[in-house]
């Protein structure tokens, strides 16, 4: 049973489906797609979307001399300078503190959302109760707002949360503003599991929380993973709230601390690119695992 569900293609609602490879190609309105057009289109699209990040990757492997030469050479870096990835930590950019802040805040927010959204999503999917609509409305409001809109209010609210408490504050903020997405997507996944599965377990004497953790959660793990990755990536990239809520320079996450170096140490662009690569690559990889399932949670609120 457990393995069944996760293998079905319709593991969750509103996912993008991949057409069977090599499927019929020349029938109906999709007749004879122009092969050359598709190849050229694909190349152009990939080039446009990858180019800036390729610039970043190549820049992170250049020496300072290469990256500040005028005019900039179009060619590849002179032998990849991987030592940048070692030297950056002791450079003036000093990204270690920022990286620690970013990791702690994103992991914290992800765990918080998991703890708060899972029971709510489960209960929403399984029961009708008075106040359900009011709750859905509340969730919808948070989806329409963002930390940027309320940044000044958040700044005042958490003014006294200084030092590491500012991380706790940011965990709460990132958790709250990502809650809506997690609840929408997880409740859709819970709803796709037949209720009878739960009920059988309850008849066998399991408590509701036991059912949730031992029976339902293992069945809906794609939804849980999607929600977790989304919350993690969003918190990792959050900028507006962090820029006003963390006063201590040493405790600011990467998104806030890195741009400060453009003005002062603009000669060290290779290190800026090294840090950007470290900040971008892991989350892009994570995101690519769940990309197909994201749409359901992002648009569910607006559709319902």
């Amino acid at each position: 049973m457990t393995t069944d569900i996760s293998d079905t293609p319709a593991a969750g609602p509103l996912t993008l489906t991949e057409p069977a490879p090599g499927g019929s190609r020349s029938t109906g309105p999709d007749r004879a797609p122009n092969r050359i057009g598709i190849v050229i289109g694909s190349i152009v699209i990939v080039a446009v979307f990858v180019a800036p990040y390729l610039l970043m990757l190549l820049g992170s492997l250049k020496t300072q001399q290469e990256i500040t030469s005028i005019p900039p050479p179009f060619g590849l870096p002179s032998g990849p300078h991987f030592e940048n990835y070692v030297n950056v930590w002791s450079s003036q950019v000093a990204p270690f503190n920022g990286l620690v802040a970013t990791v702690v805040i994103s992991v914290g927010a992800t765990v918080l959302v998991l703890l708060v959204a899972t029971p709510a999503a489960y209960y929403l999917a399984r029961f009708r109760f008075p106040g359900r609509l009011a709750f859905l409305f509340l969730v919808l409001i948070t989806q329409m707002l963002q930390p940027t809109v309320l940044a000044i209010g958040l700044f005042k609210e958490f003014l006294t949360w200084t030092g590491h408490m500012s991380w706790v504050a940011l965990i709460l903020v990132n958790g709250a503003f990502n809650l809506a997405f997690a609840i929408w997507i997880m409740q859709a996944f819970f709803a796709s599991v037949p209720k009878e599965v739960d009920e059988a377990a309850v008849v066998d004497g399991a408590g509701r929380f036991q059912v949730l953790f031992k029976i339902s959660l293992p069945l809906v793990w794609p939804g849980v993973v999607t929600a977790m990755v989304f919350v993690f990536v969003n918190s990792w990239n959050e900028y507006a709230a962090a820029s006003v809520m963390v006063q201590d320079n040493k405790l600011q996450p990467l998104t806030v601390s890195l741009p400060k170096f453009f003005g002062f140490y603009s000669q060290d662009w290779q290190y800026v690119f090294t840090v950007a690569t470290v900040a971008i690559v892991p989350v892009v990889v994570l995101f690519s695992f769940v990309e197909k399932r994201l749409i359901g949670g992002l648009t569910a609120g607006a559709v319902k």
């Binding site: 990858v50 800036p52 409001i141 000044i152 958790g175 900028y239 890195l258 990309e291």
Partner: protein, 314 residues
């Protein structure tokens, strides 16, 4: 009540009708422990700061941030008329920013989604390429463009000069007016992934047999697209537009990073102005502008809904 607590798994949608009011209360009480953490988090970190911001908009603050009593509407007045702020221009910028970014994003995304809806070898790779700006931090992406457009050692600037698009010493990001348009391009770039994915999900709800029937009836591709695909796509376009309006309106780092000119300038929209006010004029005036900003965003959404009527039956 007692029966409820011993058999909590009654299938509720069907039995709701025969429950008494105390049953409804019981069902509410049972839901509380499951939903309370979410309600508390939303109340404390979304609703409370929203209320606090509205309250602060009407309070006077000292230079050091201490509250000094009621301010009436003076914060709002100051927010709109502070000397040196090109307010008219900033409001126009904000409208141009939202309309151009959202409209161009939607147009390009319609094409991208149509392209990705075909079956072809390498489709997965194209999709993964499109997803990158979505996952990547907007701060980092903007930083890459800032470097690329540097008049001395920027590669994008050199390429544009080679194509004759840029003067030999023009620094696009040093001038607030041109920096604004650079930010528009980058904002479109980072908005494309989500929009394309939303429209692609919409395209996949278009029934294949209807398209085939249209084909059999001799409809041209253009006719099929305009008369069948677009109407079905309408809700997806509406959702994408709405979410994009909210995101683009509230976009902060793109404008902050790509328009590095300090202080009040003609490359700003109202959202970065809020954050400038926070440092220069304190929490009262910046709260007032935040409230106005939010109302401004709502007005744009309402105008969009009135103009486009995305829920209208076709």
């Amino acid at each position: 009540m007692t029966t409820l607590s011993t058999s909590p798994i009654e299938p509720l949608p069907k039995t709701g009708r025969r429950r008494t009011s105390s049953g409804a209360l019981g069902r509410f009480a049972m839901a509380v422990p499951w939903l309370l953490p979410a309600v508390v988090l939303i109340a404390a970190v979304v609703l409370y700061p929203a209320g606090l911001m509205i309250y602060n908009a009407f309070r006077k603050f000292s230079k050091y941030g201490f509250e000094q009593g009621a301010a009436g509407w003076s914060n709002f007045h100051l927010a709109l008329t502070f000397p040196g702020v090109p307010m008219g221009r900033i409001i126009v910028n904000t409208i141009v920013w939202v309309v151009v970014v959202v409209a161009v994003t939607l147009l390009i995304s319609l094409g991208l989604a149509q392209f990705l809806n075909k079956t072809f070898r390498g489709r997965k790779i194209v999709r993964l390429a499109i997803v990158i700006p979505w996952a990547a931090s907007v701060v980092m992406t903007s930083s890459i463009f800032l470097n690329g457009l540097d008049p001395n050692y920027g590669l994008i600037a050199r390429m544009m000069r080679a194509l004759g698009l840029l003067g030999p010493t023009t620094a696009l990001t040093d001038n607030p007016d041109t920096a604004f348009w650079v930010a528009v391009v980058v904002a479109i770039f980072v908005s494309l992934p989500f929009t394309t994915y939303t429209l692609l999900a919409g395209l996949q709800t278009v029934p294949k047999d209807v398209l085939e029937a249209a084909h059999v009836d001799g409809a041209s591709r253009g006719q099929t697209y305009r008369q069948i695909v677009l109407p079905i796509l309408r809700p997806a376009v509406a959702v994408a537009a709405l979410i994009n309006i909210i995101n683009v309106f509230n976009s902060l780092p793109i404008l902050q990073i790509l328009n590095p000119t300090a202080g009040y300038n003609t490359g700003l929209t109202t959202t970065p102005l809020v954050f400038l006010y926070k440092t220069t004029l304190g929490p009262g005036v910046s709260s007032a502008l935040s409230v106005l900003n939010f109302a401004f965003c709502l007005v744009i959404i309402v105008i969009y809904l009135l103009l486009v009527r995305p829920t209208k039956e076709v």
